[in-house]
């Protein structure tokens, strides 16, 4: 059993009681909600005649269903309109702060909460969304929950949960040029597998992690769930504190000093005990691309799609399904695979630094004629910062469509969808069958820089050939 890790400390601090069944009752410091997983929870409160216990500990935004071409209301899609108005109504009725479209602070929930300074070290954070693990980048313990648990948090500010084990993933050395946080996390998931994290929280640590910016750390923690870990985190440091300074909802003045003192006391002890430790060398990682239907099925850009015999017996079943669905041949190289759609966005890689990296590749170049490319900023703040820096112009000049903020083609609940069996190069986090809106659509996950390179060449390319 782990001891004295940040996870243990934050868990113990938030433990309210031992429940009769043996699980723990955990207080949730910050609850984030959005339009897709909350309406049924509010409905259940109503059925049970319950109130929202601490409305100020819940914050809402709208992201999954919003159109990114035309956001004027009512939305063209009636169901989407119904969902946003239900959220508006619920927030109004229960006095929940709602960052709506046009507020300047709307966006993907996992992009918005950090940039508002809501996400802070030492908190427990829950949201009806699996990528809540993102917030662990700040040294908070953050996990996705389902709608019944959203109901529980609204009604009680607590949930019933079994304590997770802790695995430290120690990343030695530094990422090399042209290799990004996305490549690192895809590599980790490939090495450990998509279910290795079940029952675990992942602590990412080591020189390669320390060297990452806060936004890159969010990319890493974001995808913990793709490795099966409901929660991923990084011990807070100077980068964490300076990111938070002066953010809208971060502590101010004398509160800031108190916060800082407390945050500095929060990290895994040097001799803390982990349930498991895994070490890897970040300098050996290449730009990484998925070829299959799980985020664990990836290869380095210069490698071949694995042969069935190269895989462990457990991985063979899904590999066979993937070859067929993706129409890839085992042993085929991933490089030069033609792509038809390029998507930059999502809570994994839709932040300002992601847009900057992509424009460095795109500057002065044109998107291939065969490619439909579009960029969806992660939030209104990201969009406005990008415009100030002229990034929108670089995108548009190169042939990318510049869109309004939202989840968009990460899960295709709006009108941005793949058609037929189109292949997309995507900076998002899931390559599941049908994920991007077409039941036969095919998704190749990669870093935003790699998506930009693929857009220019019309095929999967090594971004290092563009930036060196």
């Amino acid at each position: 059993m782990s001891q004295d890790t940040l996870f243990d400390k934050v868990w113990d601090l938030h433990k309210v009681s031992n429940l009769p069944g043996g699980s723990d009752q955990i207080f949730i410091g910050l609850h984030l909600i959005h339009e897709v997983t909350s309406p049924q929870a509010f409905g259940a409160l109503k059925d049970k005649n319950l109130k929202v216990k601490f409305p100020n500990r819940t914050v809402a935004t709208v992201d999954h269903i919003v159109p990114t071409d035309n956001q004027s209301r009512p939305f063209k899609d009636n169901l989407a309109e119904q969902m946003i108005s239900t959220l508006e109504k619920n927030c109004l009725q229960h006095k929940i702060r709602f960052f709506n479209i046009g507020s300047g602070n709307q966006g993907i929930v996992h992009v918005v909460a950090p940039e508002l300074g809501l996400t802070q070290p030492g908190m427990t954070i829950a949201c009806g969304d699996s990528h809540t693990s993102t917030h662990g980048a700040f040294g908070s313990i953050a996990f996705g929950i389902g709608t019944s648990q959203v109901r529980d948090v609204l009604a009680t500010q607590t949930i019933a949960m079994n304590k997770l084990k802790v695995r430290q993933i120690w990343c030695e050395n530094q990422l090399s040029n042209g290799v990004y946080a996305k490549d690192l996390v895809l590599h980790i998931i490939n090495k450990l597998g998509v279910k290795a994290g079940v029952g675990f929280a992942y602590e990412f640590a080591g020189p390669a992690i320390n060297a990452l910016s806060m936004e890159e750390r969010m990319t890493i923690c974001n995808m913990s769930i793709e490795g099966g870990a409901r929660c991923g985190y990084i011990n807070p440091d100077e980068k964490t504190y300076s990111y938070l300074k002066n953010k809208l909802c971060a502590p101010k003045n004398e509160h800031w000093n108190k916060a800082l003192a407390w945050w500095k006391s929060l990290k895994s002890d040097e001799n803390s005990i982990y349930d498991d430790v895994v070490k890897l060398d970040a300098s050996k990682i290449e730009p990484t691309v998925t070829w299959g239907i799980t985020p664990g099925q990836s290869v380095g850009i210069n490698q071949q799609i694995p042969l069935l015999d190269d895989l462990s017996p457990n991985d063979k079943l899904v590999a066979e399904e993937a070859y067929e669905y993706m129409s890839f041949k085992p042993g085929q190289s991933i490089k030069n695979t033609p792509v038809e759609v390029c998507f930059i966005g999502s809570c994994t890689n839709g932040r300002i630094s992601d847009l900057r990296v992509a424009t460095e590749v795109l500057k002065g170049k044109k998107v291939s004629k065969n490619v439909k490319a579009f960029v969806v900023p992660g939030s209104e703040q990201v969009a406005s910062e990008a415009k100030q820096e002229g990034l929108d112009k670089i995108f548009k000049d190169s042939g990318f469509q510049w869109r309004e903020p939202g989840c968009s083609m990460c899960l295709a609940m709006n009108s941005d969808k793949l058609i037929g069996n189109q292949v997309s190069a995507s900076s998002s986090n899931r390559n599941f069958k049908g994920r991007q809106g077409s039941p036969s659509g095919r998704t190749l996950l990669m870093s935003p820089a790699m998506v930009a390179a693929a857009a220019i060449n019309g095929k999967v390319s090594d971004v290092r050939e563009f930036i060196n």
């Binding site: 429940l19 699996s130 648990q149 009604a155 949930i159 799980t294 994920r435």
Partner: protein, 207 residues
């Protein structure tokens, strides 16, 4: 698909039913219920859309479309079932189709806790036992009687010792799997915790 749907409630100690096998590892929640069906403000109509895209691809041959499985209520799966999104719509869709319990090699964390929260016990068995059931199902119906008290499942000619988290098992037996009221019973402790947490003091602008 079963027509009149009544959600489970109270103590759950025994589940008897016909098994339905679904073969495959890492079957994610996007496959169980594709994102377009998440555009809803209640769960009522999800049952018919469960596995919609997989079913369309298999043109009537998907286990959830086979006539002989129509009355099945115990789902048999392989490893990492329910990975991906936290959407409770996935177990809700399965439940509304008629699934009352799931037995598999392993489950994704959030999917597992969603199932518990809505009253679907999830049990694990080693790979060879799951394969045995799946093989058996190739040519015969399998009716299992699941006894939560003793964590066993038996049929005419098969017997299994099921694994389930002890906390989940207890909650089903006591009827406390619907957690809200149990959590609310500790109202004072919750208030105390709110007052104790260091960061709520320097984030008091939120309160």
């Amino acid at each position: 698909m079963q027509s009149a749907f009544t959600p489970p409630s109270g103590k759950i100690s025994q589940i008897n039913g016909q098994c339905i096998s679904l073969i495959g590892n890492d079957i994610d929640t996007d496959r169980i219920i594709p994102a377009r069906f998440l555009k809803c403000v209640d769960f009522d109509s999800l049952g018919e859309s469960v596995f919609e895209d997989d079913r369309k691809t298999l043109k009537g041959k998907h286990p959830f479309d086979l006539k002989e499985n129509k009355k099945a209520s115990i789902l048999i799966v392989n490893s990492n079932f329910g990975c991906g999104s936290s959407r409770e719509h996935a177990p809700q869709a399965l439940m509304r189709w008629g699934i009352k319990a799931i037995i598999g090699e392993s489950f994704a964390d959030i999917f597992y806790s969603n199932c518990i929260a809505i009253g679907i016990p999830c049990f694990t068995l080693p790979k060879n036992s799951i394969q045995k059931i799946q093989k058996y199902e190739d040519n015969k119906f399998l009716f299992l009687e699941i006894d939560l008290k003793n964590s066993i499942a038996k049929s005419k000619d098969l017997n299994f010792n099921l694994e389930i988290k002890e906390s989940s098992r207890k909650m089903f037996l006591s009827g406390e799997w619907d957690a809200t009221s149990t959590l609310l019973a500790n109202e004072n402790l919750i208030e105390n915790k709110l007052n104790d947490l260091p960061y709520l003091k320097f984030n008091n602008h939120l309160l």
